[in-house]
């Protein structure tokens, strides 16, 4: 059997695909959050950044989009296949089963992942293609679109909930992906995860602050 096939057929191989695609997405999230935070500087700053991405940096933007698309698909396909394998591994359930170590992050990876996939689709239809317009929106006016949308309570609520799911997903994913790639904990407690917690909190806060700030008129 060829090497790539052997790799993909194993549960560890699929898990490594999940880890690598997840880390690619974390990298994107950091850039995305940094871009968003320019909203606090001025409308001109954010809209100029957007114009830069869609103008001079357009080719780069498409490279990033293609890489992300491949990463998302790889992440979903391997997650789906692993979930099916895991379900098949325990055909008869326990009458009593207590979890002792699993965190809220690890337990919500699958349901949170489905929610995030749904969020990504809606978010692209909302701000990228402007197909869904909860309020009147205009192409090129990222700042105005954000203000108009996040003044609506259910739009803000949806984004805030999705970002909680993202934070939990990262709390487990940022830690476990490193271990999937073979990094050992230099710490006596293998559940110790300061880097993952920092990443999850920073990314969660960086994204959540924008809709919340708009909703409460901290930005006008």
């Amino acid at each position: 059997m060829n090497r790539a096939t052997r790799f993909w057929r194993s549960t560890v191989g699929k898990k490594i695909v999940m880890a690598v695609s997840g880390i690619i997405m974390i990298g994107f999230l950091i850039l995305h959050a940094a871009g968003n935070l320019q909203i606090f500087e001025s409308s001109a700053k954010l809209n100029t950044y957007s114009a830069f991405l869609h103008g001079p940096a357009n080719e780069l933007l498409w490279v990033v989009r293609i890489v992300l698309f491949v990463a998302v698909i790889a992440h979903i396909v391997s997650a789906y296949q692993l979930t099916m394998l895991d379900r098949a591994a325990r055909p008869v359930p326990y009458a009593q089963k207590k979890l002792q170590a699993a965190t809220i992050g690890s337990r919500t990876m699958r349901v949170g992942g489905v929610l995030l996939a749904l969020f990504i689709v809606l978010h692209i239809l909302h701000f990228t293609t402007l197909t869904l317009q909860p309020a009147p929106m205009a192409a090129g006016d990222v700042y105005g679109n954000a203000i108009a949308s996040f003044r609506i309570w259910w739009v803000t609520a949806f984004y805030v909930i999705a970002m909680i799911a993202l934070g939990l997903h990262l709390y487990h994913g940022a830690w476990s992906s490193a271990r999937t790639l073979g990094f050992e904990q230099g710490h006596s407690d293998p559940f110790h995860r300061p880097v993952a917690v920092t990443l999850a909190v920073l990314i969660w806060a960086g994204f959540t602050i924008v809709p919340v700030a708009v909703f409460f008129h901290w930005i006008s």
């Binding site: 090497r3 052997r6 560890v12 895991d86 098949a88 009458a95 170590a101 690890s106 790639l181």
Partner: protein
Amino acid sequence: MNLTLRVWRQAGPKAPGRMVEYKAADISPEASFLEMMDVVNETLTLRGDEPIAFDHDCREGICGMCSMMINGVAHGPNRGTATCQLHMRSFEDGALIYIEPWRVRAFPVVKDLCVDRSALDRIVAAGGFITAATGGAQDANSVLVSKADADLAMDAAACIGCGACAAACPNGSASLFTGAKISHLGQLPQGQPERYRRALAMVEQHDAEGFGGCTLHGECQLACPKEISIDTIARMHRDFLVGAATTREERSGSGVG
């Protein structure tokens, strides 16, 4: 002590099973869990009923035969102990105790609480060995091993192969077992020649047995009677990754003999 037990009864591998309630009366708090089971079986036998089949052997926590899911926790509520090291004083008088076999597709039920764990043997047979002829015992210091590596290898080698990791895992994965066996040899100089091939072969056998994949919930580490760290799973992943990137198929008829 008087207890109520709900125990999985299954007459044979193909027979349907169900939870059956039993009373365990006049149990000493000093009795071990398996001794409590012996007392219950004694009453069942005297009554003319079929006693509850359960696996056990050394009854001192080193053989890895005992295997009971007690109130939803593999090997019961105490950390770092096998079922045989659990004593009835860990339970309240009058308690209701659920006793189930390991529930993993790769461990088919043989009878009642006994499961067939030969899947673990086949994982070891796939690569958990070294090919060098070892000969007689060498001088202890002729092969140098650093203290740090020796400690890690010994910690992994503590695995008694009971299968509690797979039983406790929400995904039914035996990654802690496989990781312990891979990293116990992979940490030592004697294990180096087959290190990466070993990881590939053992992971493939683990999957072929029908175990699930690891999602690092960490349940296995708390269930393990030898408290083996999930760090061994990280080491397994690393050796698998290097193996997948570098291992070549063996070719027959090549090389100069």
